[in-house]
Symmetry: C2
Subunit: 291 residues, 2 copies
């Protein structure tokens, strides 16, 4: 099948990035959000991203040309009715996603492929209600431009013929597709990242190492620009808390409790100016940090 | 206290590297091994390392001058009797280490600091038998030249005054010192690395992802030159198996069983030419791996 038109549902950070990359790759895009404001913010974010991409010479076309391929809409039908493939990035709330997929299943053309960009939920939760389980698959991006992995995760009812189509589509979006052979919350990368963060959290709450020394260990030995606590600040401590508190082992619970003390002080990480580090110039980016 | 003379016990890969860096940093070094052959191999490895360091302009002195500061000896006394500090890197066998530290405690000058470079054992296992527990601390290197973290891990009886001395000494060896506040097997970095590897192993044995896709996820999203299975190949699957099999949870046991099938086929990783990948040109280093 040929994909020419892409429907993006949800104009948050990730939906915006996927929509922009699709337009850069030459697809016609319809991005939907129920909030006009979210679409305005999405348009603004795209212009910022395009400026950066232009500066680093990663796009060849003029920004206006790229943006002209994107329709911003609060009407679900307009995003969906021409789409060959849909990628959904709405709030991580099973009820909201179910309600949306039920509507989409009724109005999308019969050949349209359905994909969810959920981070920790599973495609089988929405496949049946979409009334198109065989055409339903998780297709999960990281941040599209820096972290370019896209996870392809079918549920048991996904038609296997959909996998190579998604692989090709992923490559056309400048991503590196990987297959998650069975449903698994967190896919491949996030599973490993969470294990790393869990171990770092346990070292901290167990008073084995300091935030700085734990991060230094990772940064210096692997020549990485940040360690686990720097990464947590960039993910957002609120998101980290939501994920951590669902894990029932005592180490996760202790770390969730620590994260909660940060949230209670309004320290959400980079976006709030304060998390484990202070922003915009966190200690771990200072040249003397690893001396 | 001033450190001018360094005793290195054990001329394996790590002891050799620490001894060489100490000589590069201007210290007089006595490296001891019971096997003449090990000392020959150590000398050869040092010459290779010096060639690489010369090429990348990371040393200023002539190699001969640096090597002239190193005494290679099979006589323990000669390595120890002038030493201000001793760093022990012998086989990870508690009985061998105990026997050595008992001897060293009897012949080393009374002011000499005792440090062990053990990877997974604890300093408290050897502190008493050295007869100098207050001067005994773990001082653990990674690979000295690429991964430059040095862990300082006291046991409960270590004199706290020893910590800043080891910090300064570590910095003088071009390392980034971190403090492990309580005894903890694996220190900071190896604890996190093991968590990452454990998660990757669980994804593989659980048939969630392939070796290549798991590694790709890590490499592409974090812009790293290898993923967990590439790292395992470089660590050595025999070492990985020894560490993994001691963990009693079912995921570690499953992964240890998988590693054992590699060992039974003589696949030990990079050093044997075959592990999860084939060497010297593993798939993950090919330019098309992450396309």
């Amino acid at each position: 099948m040929e994909i020419t038109n892409v429907g993006i549902l949800g104009a948050g950070t990730l939906g915006t990035r996927v929509a922009l990359q699709a337009a850069i790759s030459g697809y016609q895009v319809g991005i939907f959000d129920i909030h006009e404001k979210a679409l305005d913010a999405s348009f603004k974010l795209m212009k910022e991203l395009l400026q950066q991409l232009e500066k680093s010479k990663r796009i060849e076309e003029a920004s206006e040309k790229i943006l002209s391929r994107i329709l911003f809409t609060t009407e679900l039908e307009k995003s969906v009715n021409q789409a060959d493939i849909i990628n959904e990035s709405v709030t991580e709330d099973p009820e909201i996603k179910k309600e949306l997929w039920e509507k989409v299943g009724k109005i999308a053309p019969s050949q349209t492929l359905f994909t969810t960009n959920t981070s920790y939920l599973l495609p089988s939760m929405f496949a049946e209600i979409s009334a198109r389980p065989e055409k339903f698959c998780a297709f999960h991006f990281h941040d599209v431009f820096y972290s370019r992995v896209v996870d392809i995760m079918p549920h048991v009812g996904t038609d296997p013929a959909m996998i190579p189509i998604l692989e090709d589509f992923g490559k056309s979006l400048n991503q590196v597709p990987v297959i998650v052979m069975k449903e698994h919350p967190g896919y491949l990368f996030n599973t490993m990242l969470l294990a790393l963060i869990g171990a770092a959290g346990k070292l901290l709450t167990g008073e084995i190492g300091s935030i700085e020394d734990i991060d230094k260990s990772w940064m210096v030995n692997f020549h990485m620009p940040m360690g686990p606590f720097g990464i947590l600040d960039s993910i957002g401590l609120d998101t980290a808390w939501h994920v951590t508190k669902t894990r029932k082992d005592s180490a996760s619970q202790a770390f969730a409790a620590l994260l909660k003390t940060y949230l209670d002080q309004g320290k959400l990480g980079e976006k709030s100016g304060q998390g484990f580090y202070q922003y915009p110039n966190p200690a771990f980016k200072q040249p003397d940090f690893i001396l």
